[in-house]
Amino acid sequence: MLIERKWKKWLYFYLPMAAFIVFTLFPFYWMAVTAFRPDSELYATWRQPNAAPLWTLQPTLEHFYGLMKTTAFPTWLWNTMAIAIVSTGISLICGTFAGYALARLRFRGSEFLGTAIFITYLVPQTLLFIPLADIVRDLQLGNTPWALMLTYPTFLIPFCTWLLMGYFKTIPKELEECARIDGATRFGAMVRIIFPVAIPGILSAGIFAFTLSWNEFIYALIFMSSADQKTVPVGVVSELIRGDIFFWGQLMMGALLGSVPVALVYSFFVEYYVTGLTGSVKG
């Protein structure tokens, strides 16, 4: 009986789990290997003797130096970071207040407003960039970081609002009522009691927003034209694919370095992130 259960567990749990892990992590692994592979090995055929298609025999940093010397990669990294932080900050502030209002306040049209905000999130960016480009040009923000800092919140705020609205709904309303009896105003109760309790939710909304703006491609491609204003995703693609030549080593190195900050942010906040998504507050 027990033995049967054991193999069943292997069959139904470990095996699919392993397949899933390989499936999700292999592209990342492939990127990392390619980033450290010398060009001679990169372009060799797999049939060749001593070929090691799944790893590298002569790891090298040549792509790292190439990336730093021939492109403005450090500037892209800085641009991406600044834009992601500012747009995440704006979106979190707006999203927290909007999410709280939609979750807690009863006012005329609150449900319609909630749905309307959600619908704006559903409009694809590939359509929205056309009118946005007009606005960005009219405000003369083109080719400045503000073009992205102010347009990213158009999809980040609805996203944060919805995620936080769900989180605020899981917080017992008695906490707030108790604070109001204890002598806090509605605003005071929100700031002193509800926001601190909602930190896991706010952090996970922040992480998501940060990742979304870090990886954003279309707006960055359209609104930024000069090489020193680009973000990592756009810079890597537009400067390292020249004509029909792909600089695979540098491309992969750029992608690897570009994904490190996001990975760091996730690993720092993973605990908050999980409770933020599952939303559990106990009194």
Binding site: L175, E177, K282, G283
Partner: protein, 356 residues
């Protein structure tokens, strides 16, 4: 230290639900008033309107001499204990208890002294540095009570504060709350659906149903003289037994299948109508000899509880329970004759359900 006066209080929700209907209530200074009733009876809504957490549709609430209808909760000088404790999870026990005082800008020493005193009364001095999630249910409950008493409010409001505790702890906390109330001598309004809590804690008890007050009275008054069938059935455990009877046309006898009894003088005018007879389980005793007022039946379930035995049987077409002395030796399916004292019978109008 204040009276709470409620006049013609109504609450209608936007969806048309009329939760509280014309409630009139006077809670005396230092009184422990319990609101009891089944869920949805409007007791919690009434309490929340006193707290200022729910808007009043019409009517008036006074705390002391002041009309508080439009005052925000913070200005009503009340403290409330919630069913789920509502402790601030990110604050320590000390900060939880001190929050209300800090919001009111009390000097530091005063805050410290009051929290210490309250912690001392409740026996939670050793927990002051902990966070709520590190506490057991009973400890959380104490902290919630402590948070209410540090404020020295005019009125305590309790919203089913014991229903999240296990049965044993609930009994223990019940006694502690009663002791605390005697010590603090503060007006208290306590909402519960548990009639045992209502009976043991309340100086007076308000029984509510469907937003209406059914009866207000001291616990034993409700038990002895219920105003209607609902109160009679709600107060007391096991509940009162009810049987429907048809009264003979001359008004002298009332009967149903297998049961026949003499109608008391005062009800003789009910000839030809229907009555509901109510008998408390302890009013049914095993007959010794041939008592005049009694009936014979077969017991189907015997529940020996140690201090008493509950006998379940059917009589007059209705299920009934009798509470008898633990010394009685009766087995299931045994035939038993029960005796009833005429003075311990309750009669209700079969239609209006009012006591007669």
């Amino acid at each position: 230290m204040a009276t709470v006066t409620i006049r013609d209080l109504n609450k209608k929700y936007d969806n048309g639900f009329h939760a509280v209907k014309d409630v009139n209530l006077e809670i005396r200074d230092k009184e422990f008033m319990v609101l009891v009733g089944p869920s949805g009876c409007g007791k919690t809504t009434t309490l929340r309107m006193v707290a200022g957490l729910e808007e009043i549709t019409s009517g008036e609430i006074r705390i002391g001499t002041e009309v508080v209808n439009d005052l925000p909760p913070m200005d009503r000088n009340i403290a409330m204990v919630f069913q789920n404790y509502a402790l601030y999870p990110h604050k320590t026990v000390f900060d939880n208890m001190a929050f209300g005082l800090q919001m009111r800008k009390y000097p530091k020493e005063e805050v410290l002294k009051r929290v210490k005193d309250a912690a001392d009364i409740l026996g939670i001095e050793s927990l002051l540095e902990r966070k709520p999630r590190q506490l057991s249910g009973g400890q959380r409950q104490r902290v919630a009570v402590g948070r209410a008493i540090v404020r020295h409010p005019q009125v305590f409001l309790f919203d089913e504060p014991l229903s999240n505790l296990d049965a044993k702890l609930r009994v223990q906390m019940r006694v502690e709350l009663k002791r605390l109330h005697e010590r603090l001598e503060t007006t208290a309004i306590y909402v519960t659906h548990d009639q045992v809590e209502a009976m043991t804690l309340g100086d007076r008890v308000v029984v509510m149903k469907d937003g209406l007050i059914q009866q207000i009275g001291a616990p034993l008054e409700l038990y002895g003289n219920p105003a209607n069938k609902f109160v009679a059935g709600f107060i007391g455990s096991p509940a009162m037994n009810f049987v429907n009877l048809a009264v003979s046309s001359d008004g002298r006898w009332a009967e149903t299948e297998g049961l026949r009894l003499q109608v008391p003088e005062r009800l003789r005018s009910h000839g030809g109508k229907r009555l509901t007879l109510g008998v408390r389980p302890e009013a049914l005793q095993i007959a010794n000899g041939t008592d005049q007022h009694g009936f014979t039946t077969t017991v189907d379930v015997v529940e020996p509880l140690g201090n008493e035995i509950l006998l379940n049987f059917r009589a007059g077409g209705a299920p009934m329970v009798a509470r008898v002395d633990p010394g009685v030796r009766i087995k299931a399916h045994e035939s038993v004759r029960f005796a009833v004292e005429p003075g311990r019978l309750h009669f209700f109008d079969a239609e209006s359900e009012a006591a007669l």
